[in-house]
C-alpha cells in the first residue's frame, strides 16, 4: 500500500510538533524515520494510525484521501502500529489475546485459531507458545505477538516506533528478517528509530525530522556523518573513556542467591567501589534485571547478603535502601518510573529533599522544575504532565528526578529511547556524579554503551554471572560471544581465580 502524508500539521498547545510534513512511502519499501528526541516522529506515526488527529493536512492511501479517526479505523484501512511504550496487555493467554482482535464471527474457534497462529508464526521463524500468558513474555516476544496480531487482522502497512530498544540481538535479527519478508510481499513498513546502524541495514530510504520539520530524505546507501548532521544540525562525537573509581567499597554482594522463576542466580560475590561504573551485559531475561532488583530490596534473596556502605540491608525493603542513598530507575518509565497524570513540577515536589514542611511551596518547586527542564534539556513545561512528553524526554525527566545526594544509582537501560546527543549528555551528567563518589550499576542492551561507559562488566547468561571483567581489555566481539553463551569455560577459570583471591 502506498502511504502519503500531505501537509500534515499538528500543535500541542504552544508546541508545533509536526510542521507541514509531506512524505510519500512506496508500497513494498521499508521507510526509516530518524530524528532527535521530541522531533515529532511518534506524533506523525500516531496520526497515521488514528491515535491522534492532525490540525490540518491529509493522508492518502494508494492515492485516495482517507480520514483516519481511530485506531480501529486505521486497522480497517490496513494500518497497524507497534508502540514505543508497549500498551498494557491484560493477563490473558496469547491465543486469547489473538482472538480478541478478531473481526466478525461470534464464537471464536479455538483450535482453528491456534492452527492459524502456528502457521503464521512459522513463516517468520517465531516460536511463541500460544498457551502461555502474555505477561510472562519478554518485550521482544510481546512485539512478535503484536506483529502477528496486526498481520492477522489484515495490516498491509506496519509502523514500528523504536522497536529495537529492549530486545536481544537475536530477537532483533528475527525481527529484521521478518520485516524484510513482509516488504517483499508488498507490505509497507515504517521504521522509527534512534539507532543509525539499524536504520542503515534495514531501510531503503530514510526521512529525517528535526523540531517538527521534515528536513530531508536520503536513499540508501547512507553516509552516517551526514545523517547525524541532518538530525542534530551538527557533527557529534563520543567522549573519551575515563575512570574515576576509588578504592573504598560502597556496595557488596556476599554469596547472593536469588530465584525468580525460571531463573536461579547463585553464588554472586561482588564489590562496587565508590565512583565506579559497572555495566551488566546479557540478553534480555538472562538474569540481570533480577539481580538488580535483588540489590535494592525489590526482590528477596533466598540467601546471602547485600551490604551498603558497611550496613547489612539484606531483606530490607526498597524504601530503606533509599534512606541509605541508593536509588533505582527501572526501564518501564510510565509504569514504575513516573506517575502519569502528575506534572513535572509535582514530580520534583515529591522527589525533592528540601522544603518538606506541611504545605507545598508551589512557587519554589515550579522554579525548580523550570531549572531542571533547562539543565536536562527537557522539552516540556513545568505544568506538562509526564505522559505528554516524548519518549526521550520522559527518560530525561526520570534522570533529572534522581536525588542530588546519592551514593549508588542502579539504572535499567538509562539511555533507552534517547537520541545519540542526549545519551552522551546524560552520561556526562552521570559521570559528574561519579566524580563526587557516586557509583553506578547499569543494565543495557547496547554492548557499545557498556564498553564505552563501564569500568567493569558483569556478563549474564541464563542465570550465570561472570566475574567482573575489565572493560578496557574486553572487546566487543568477546562480549558478544559471552552473552550468547560462548567462551564461558575461560570465564569460569577466571572466576575460580577471582574467588580464591578474594578468600585469601
Amino acid at each position: 500500500m502506498n502511504v502519503e502524508f500531505k501537509n500534515i500539521n499538528k500543535h500541542f498547545g504552544p508546541v508545533h510538533a509536526n510542521v507541514d510534513i509531506n512524505l510519500n512511502i512506496q508500497s513494498g519499501s521499508i521507510q526509516g524515520i530518524l530524528g532527535e528526541n521530541g522531533a515529532g516522529k511518534s506524533t506523525l506515526m500516531k496520526i497515521l494510525s488514528g491515535f491522534i488527529q492532525p490540525d490540518s493536512g491529509g493522508i492518502y492511501l494508494d492515492g485516495k484521501a482517507v480520514l483516519i479517526d481511530s485506531p480501529a479505523d486505521a486497522i480497517k484501512y490496513g494500518i497497524g502500529m507497534l508502540h514505543q511504550d508497549p500498551l498494557d496487555f491484560p493477563p490473558m493467554r496469547l491465543i486469547e489475546n489473538f482472538i480478541v482482535g478478531q473481526r466478525g464471527g461470534l464464537v471464536p474457534s479455538y483450535k482453528e485459531t491456534i492452527k492459524e497462529f502456528k502457521e503464521l508464526q512459522s513463516r517468520f521463524g517465531f516460536s511463541l507458545n500460544p498457551e502461555a500468558y502474555v505477561d510472562t513474555l519478554t518485550v521482544g516476544e510481546r512485539q512478535q505477538l503484536e506483529i502477528l496480531r496486526l498481520l492477522w487482522m489484515g495490516a498491509s502497512a506496519l509502523i514500528l516506533d523504536e522497536p529495537t530498544t529492549g530486545i536481544s540481538a537475536q530477537q532483533k535479527e528475527k525481527l529484521f528478517a521478518a520485516l524484510k519478508i513482509l516488504a517483499e510481499q508488498g507490505k509497507t513498513i515504517i521504521f522509527v528509530s534512534h539507532k543509525l546502524e539499524d536504520v542503515e541495514i534495514l531501510c531503503s530510504k530514510v526521512a529525517i525530522l528535526r523540531k517538527g520539520y521534515l528536513v530531508g530524505e536520503v536513499p540508501s546507501p547512507y553516509d552516517t556523518d551526514q545523517l547525524v548532521e541532518m538530525m542534530f544540525g551538527k557533527v557529534i562525537s563520543l567522549g573519551d573513556r575515563n575512570t574515576v573509581a576509588q578504592n573504598d567499597v560502597v556496595f557488596e554482594l556476599r554469596d547472593l542467591f536469588v530465584e525468580h522463576y525460571p531463573l536461579k542466580i547463585e553464588n554472586v560475590n561482588f564489590q562496587l567501589r565508590s565512583g565506579e561504573v559497572i555495566g551488566l551485559a546479557g540478553m534480555e531475561g538472562s538474569g540481570q534485571d533480577v539481580l538488580l532488583r535483588a540489590c535494592v530490596g525489590l526482590l528477596r534473596p533466598v540467601s546471602g547478603k547485600v551490604i551498603v556502605k558497611g550496613k547489612d540491608l539484606t531483606n530490607k525493603n526498597y524504601l530503606e535502601f533509599m534512606q541509605n542513598e541508593v536509588s533505582f530507575l527501572p526501564a518501564s518509565r510510565l509504569e514504575e518510573g513516573l506517575v502519569p497524570g502528575l506534572s513535572l513540577a509535582e514530580h520534583f515536589t515529591i522527589a525533592g529533599e528540601e522544603k518538606k514542611g506541611l504545605f507545598i511551596d508551589k512557587e519554589y518547586f515550579r522554579e525548580k522544575a523550570e531549572n531542571m527542564i533547562d539543565e536536562y534539556h527537557i522539552i516540556g513545561r513545568s505544568d506538562s504532565t509526564v505522559e505528554s512528553l516524548s519518549g526521550g524526554n520522559q527518560q530525561r525527566a526520570a534522570l533529572a528526578l534522581l536525588k542530588k545526594s546519592l551514593s549508588i544509582i542502579l539504572l535499567e537501560h538509562p539511555t533507552r529511547g534517547l537520541d545519540i546527543e542526549s545519551a552522551i549528555y546524560m552520561w556526562g551528567k552521570l559521570k559528574e556524579r561519579c566524580l563526587q563518589g557516586c557509583s553506578i550499576f547499569f543494565i543495557s542492551g547496547d554492548l557499545e554503551e557498556i564498553l564505552q561507559y563501564s569500568d567493569r562488566i558483569l556478563v549474564f547468561f541464563s542465570g550465570h554471572v561472570s566475574p567482573p571483567l575489565d572493560a578496557a581489555t574486553t572487546s566487543l566481539e568477546q562480549l558478544g560471544q559471552l552473552i550468547g553463551g560462548k567462551g564461558w569455560d575461560q570465564v569460569f577459570e577466571i572466576k575460580e581465580n577471582y574467588e580464591s583471591n578474594a578468600n585469601t
Binding site: D55, L319, M322, V339, L342, I350, G357, F359, I360
Partner: protein
C-alpha cells in the same frame, strides 16, 4: 487564555449534562402521566418554600458535605470506599454507646457531647481501617471488603436497637430511647439545624481542600492514586498512605454518624446513614473529585432530597423520583465528560 477556553467548554458540557438529565426525568414523568412542570415546581417549593424547609435542606447538606470530604481523600488515593455507609453507621453506634455510658453521671453534658462525638469519629476510622487492612494484608478489594463491612455494620446496628439498647418494653424500628435534651447538639432557634454541625462541615471542607491541594501529603496521595508502582519507587510508602486515606475518610464518616445522632435524631435509628454515603460517592464523581465544587453541588442534592418529600404528599408521586433525578444527573454528566474528551481530544 487557552485554559479559560477549555474551562468554559467544560462548563458547557456540564450544563448540557444537566439539561439532558432534566429532559430524561421529564420524559419519565410524562410516561407516568404526571405533569413535569408541576413536579419540578413542587420540588423547588419543597426545598425553599418556608424557613423550616430551608433549614431542613441544610440539615441534609451537612452529612452530604462531610462524607464527600472524606471520600475525596480515598478517591485521591485511587480507592473506592464503598464501605462509607458502614463507617457512618459505626460512627453513630460508637457515639450512642459512649453517650449511654454517661447518661446518669454528673459530668457536664458539653463534655459528654464532645467525648461521644470523638468516639464516633474513632468508630468510623476503625471501620474504615478494617477495610484498609483487608485490602493491604488480606488482598480483598476495597469494594468487596466495604460491601461486606456495610452489611455487618447494619446488622450490628439493628441488633443493638432491638437487643441490648432497645427501648424498655417497645423495641421498634423507631430506634433507641431518645437522649434527654441537654445531650443534644444545640440547635438554631426551633429548627433541627445546628450551627455547630454547619461549622464542622465548613471546617471539614476547608481542611480537606488544603490537605489535598496544598500539602505534600495530599500530593503523595495523588501520586499513589495515579501510579502506585511509580510512587513507591519515588520513595512513597504506598500502603501506609492508602491506610491513612481510609482513616481520614473514616474520621469524616464517623463524625457524620455522630452528628446524625447528637444533632438530628437524638437517638440511634436503623437507617442512621440514610444512604448519604452512596450519595456522597455520586457527588464526588459529579464534581470530578475537585473540592471547590463540593459545597454547591452537595447543597443542590440536599435540596432535591428535601424538595422530593412534597411529591407523594401533593401529587402522589414517589419521592424516589428525586433519586432518579440525582442518579441520571451523575450518569449524564459523566457521559458528557466522556463525549467532551473525545471531542476536545480531536482538536
Amino acid at each position: 487564555m487557552n485554559q479559560t477556553r477549555t474551562r468554559s467548554i467544560s462548563l458547557l458540557f456540564q450544563l448540557g449534562g444537566l439539561a439532558l438529565a432534566v429532559l430524561f426525568v421529564t420524559i419519565i414523568l410524562l410516561l407516568v402521566d404526571a405533569q413535569p412542570m408541576e413536579a419540578f415546581r413542587l420540588i423547588w417549593e419543597g426545598a425553599t418554600g418556608n424557613p423550616t424547609r430551608i433549614a431542613s435542606v441544610f440539615v441534609v447538606w451537612v452529612p452530604l458535605l462531610l462524607v464527600t470530604c472524606g471520600l475525596l481523600a480515598t478517591f485521591t488515593a485511587g480507592l473506592w470506599n464503598i464501605g462509607i455507609e458502614g463507617q457512618i453507621t459505626v460512627g453513630a453506634i460508637f457515639t450512642t454507646g459512649v453517650m449511654r455510658l454517661f447518661l446518669d453521671t454528673s459530668i457536664s453534658p458539653v463534655l459528654v457531647i464532645i467525648i461521644s462525638m470523638l468516639a464516633g469519629m474513632l468508630g468510623g476510622a476503625l471501620w474504615a481501617a478494617l477495610a484498609g487492612i483487608l485490602k493491604t494484608f488480606g488482598g480483598v478489594n476495597e469494594i468487596f471488603g466495604g460491601l461486606g463491612l456495610n452489611f455487618i455494620a447494619t446488622a450490628l446496628n439493628i441488633g443493638l436497637i432491638f437487643g441490648a439498647w432497645s427501648r424498655p418494653g417497645i423495641a421498634s424500628m423507631s430506634g433507641t430511647e431518645p437522649f434527654p435534651e441537654h445531650f443534644w447538639l444545640p440547635t438554631f432557634q426551633n429548627f433541627r439545624l445546628s450551627l455547630w454541625s454547619i461549622g464542622f462541615a465548613v471546617l471539614g471542607l476547608i481542611i480537606i481542600y488544603f490537605l489535598l491541594q496544598g500539602t505534600h501529603f495530599g500530593l503523595r496521595l495523588k501520586a499513589v492514586g495515579k501510579g502506585m508502582k511509580s510512587a513507591f519507587r519515588m520513595g512513597i510508602p504506598t500502603w501506609q498512605h492508602m491506610m491513612l486515606s481510609f482513616v481520614i475518610c473514616g474520621l469524616f464518616a464517623g463524625l457524620t454518624g455522630a452528628i446524625q445522632v447528637t444533632g438530628v435524631y437524638h437517638r440511634l435509628i436503623p437507617s442512621i446513614s440514610s444512604g448519604y454515603g452512596f450519595m456522597g460517592l455520586m457527588i464526588a464523581m459529579l464534581i470530578n473529585y475537585q473540592a471547590i465544587w463540593l459545597a454547591p453541588i452537595a447543597l443542590f442534592f440536599a435540596a432535591l432530597n428535601i424538595g422530593g418529600i412534597q411529591l407523594p404528599i401533593v401529587i402522589k408521586l414517589d419521592s424516589a423520583l428525586t433519586g432518579v433525578l440525582q442518579g441520571s444527573l451523575v450518569l449524564f454528566i459523566l457521559i458528557m465528560q466522556g463525549i467532551k474528551q473525545r471531542f476536545v481530544g480531536k482538536k
